[in-house]
């Protein structure tokens, strides 16, 4: 028996376990490609939470009331926490925090394209909660069923907390759209800015998504990009209508036959431009992360010195 036969047999057993709905835990055998795909996805997801603090963080000191400020502060703090849960899940696969942070700061690692757009007005904070977090919840509810135990568990914890994010955003939009003409206009301009970039969050069409078949076979993803995007549209179009907002898509129409909303084509050139580092804020986001890391170096040095002294004492 040669080693490739043994690997074939192990792969067969691994796929049988996943088909039975079992969770893979650290220590269990897994194909190298499963490990590689998970580290790629989970670390990108962690980076998205960390970079995701930046567009909203700028509005904490500008929030229109103390209540809104408390809520936004708590939301941004949650995102920092979610980044920690996810880095932890990637570490169970052998990735180190140092490697992952280095990959982000050098520009090698990707993160969600949505966070490369600016939050230009207060209404954008509402749009991030209502649109971006609704999209995130759909994706993360799927990932809570992921075949890899530590990732699934991090997702369950995050989904429970993320519902607050969505609802505080809807509350902001509700009050703006019920407010003065200027407030309604601010909300309309914000939805014009965020609608298409949010649809891009789900990633390329299934036909152009090279990783999807392997991810589905191994239970990492259980739904496709287009499937999730359609559910998002079916859910949010009626909400936009209730708010009295006009979505910036002239081709949007309800298809009685299928029960789904049909929509126009996404600007994939823009998607590729933003994902490859040329969106409106890519540079600023990475610079902010690098600066935060550099400015925290003395804290890490002090903690290391303290740790070394504790070890000597012990």
């Amino acid at each position: 028996v040669n080693s490739s036969n043994i690997d074939d047999e192990r792969l067969r057993q691994f796929e049988t376990r996943i088909a039975r709905g079992e969770k893979i835990e650290p220590g269990d055998w897994m194909p190298e490609e499963y490990r590689r795909q998970l580290i790629r996805m989970i670390s990108q997801h962690a980076h998205s939470e960390i970079v995701g603090m930046l567009p909203e963080g700028g509005w904490i000191t500008r929030a229109p009331s103390l209540r809104r400020k408390l809520v936004l502060l708590a939301k941004v703090q949650d995102e920092g926490g979610h980044g920690q849960y996810l880095y932890h899940a990637a570490e169970t696969l052998g990735a180190t925090r140092e490697e992952m942070i280095e990959a982000l700061h050098s520009g090698r690692a990707k993160y969600s394209s949505i966070f490369n757009y600016p939050a230009a007005a207060w209404a954008d904070i509402g749009m991030i909660g209502w649109l971006v977090d609704t999209a995130a919840i759909l994706n993360q509810t799927m990932l809570a069923r992921c075949s890899y135990g530590p990732y699934a568990r991090a997702m369950i914890r995050i989904c429970a907390e993320e519902n607050f994010h969505r609802k505080q955003g809807m509350e902001i939009i509700y009050y703006l759209t019920q407010g003065s003409t200027a407030q309604r206009e601010m909300a309309q301009q914000a939805v014009d800015r965020w609608w298409w970039p949010t649809l891009m969050m789900f990633g390329p069409h299934d036909a152009d998504s090279p990783n999807t078949p392997a991810l589905m076979r191994w239970g990492i993803k259980t739904r496709t990009n287009d499937d999730l995007r359609q559910e998002f549209i079916d859910q949010t179009v009626p909400e936009a209508e209730a708010f009295g907002l006009t979505l910036p898509d002239s081709q949007l129409r309800f298809d009685e036959g299928s029960g789904h909303w049909r929509f126009g084509e996404i600007d994939w050139d823009e998607f590729r431009r933003v994902i490859s580092g040329h969106g409106p804020c890519n540079q600023a986001r990475l610079e902010a992360r690098r600066r935060a890391h550099e400015e925290g170096a003395w804290v890490r040095a002090a903690l290391q010195a303290y740790g070394a002294r504790q070890n000597e004492a012990a």
Binding site: E98, E161, F164, R166, M170, A297, R300
Partner: protein, 180 residues
Amino acid sequence: VSDSQLSRFEVFVQGRKGAAYVHAGSVHAPDPELALLNARDVFSRRPNCHSLWVVPADRILRRTVEQLSAGAETDSPATPGKSETFLVFGKIGHRGSHVFLGETAAAGSSQALSRGQEAFGHLDVTSWWIVAEATRSISAPEEARAWFDPAKDKPFRDHAFYPVETFMRNLGRGRRQQAR
């Protein structure tokens, strides 16, 4: 000095007095005291925490049933010799996290694993973690109120704080009235 993210500690949360400690995730810290502090910040933003345990991640003996059935050697990170107390954690079935099952006295973590399997084997454990009690640190009970009660003062962290369903119903009603 190289830039380091320090050591990893596994974190276990007790939701309320008397409940089992459940694994929540991990934190990085130079020592157990700061690991507890980080764990408090990362894992108790909601009012869901009564007490915390932290354990250095590299001091845990971990074995999945797959590893055990493949005959994995259960060499122990702790030194065998005189008997000490071990904490036995298990993930039951394929849902949920590692949960504290109970204690056992053993000479080394391999023996503690065998004893854990004897005592809790009927529970359909799919993954075992064995922790020497001496390596576990506990959040100070006298600090529990100062550490965990502030989360109770932040109801706006709960989605139920926002009456969004009522808003959307009101909007629907308004629209129908306009149409009439």
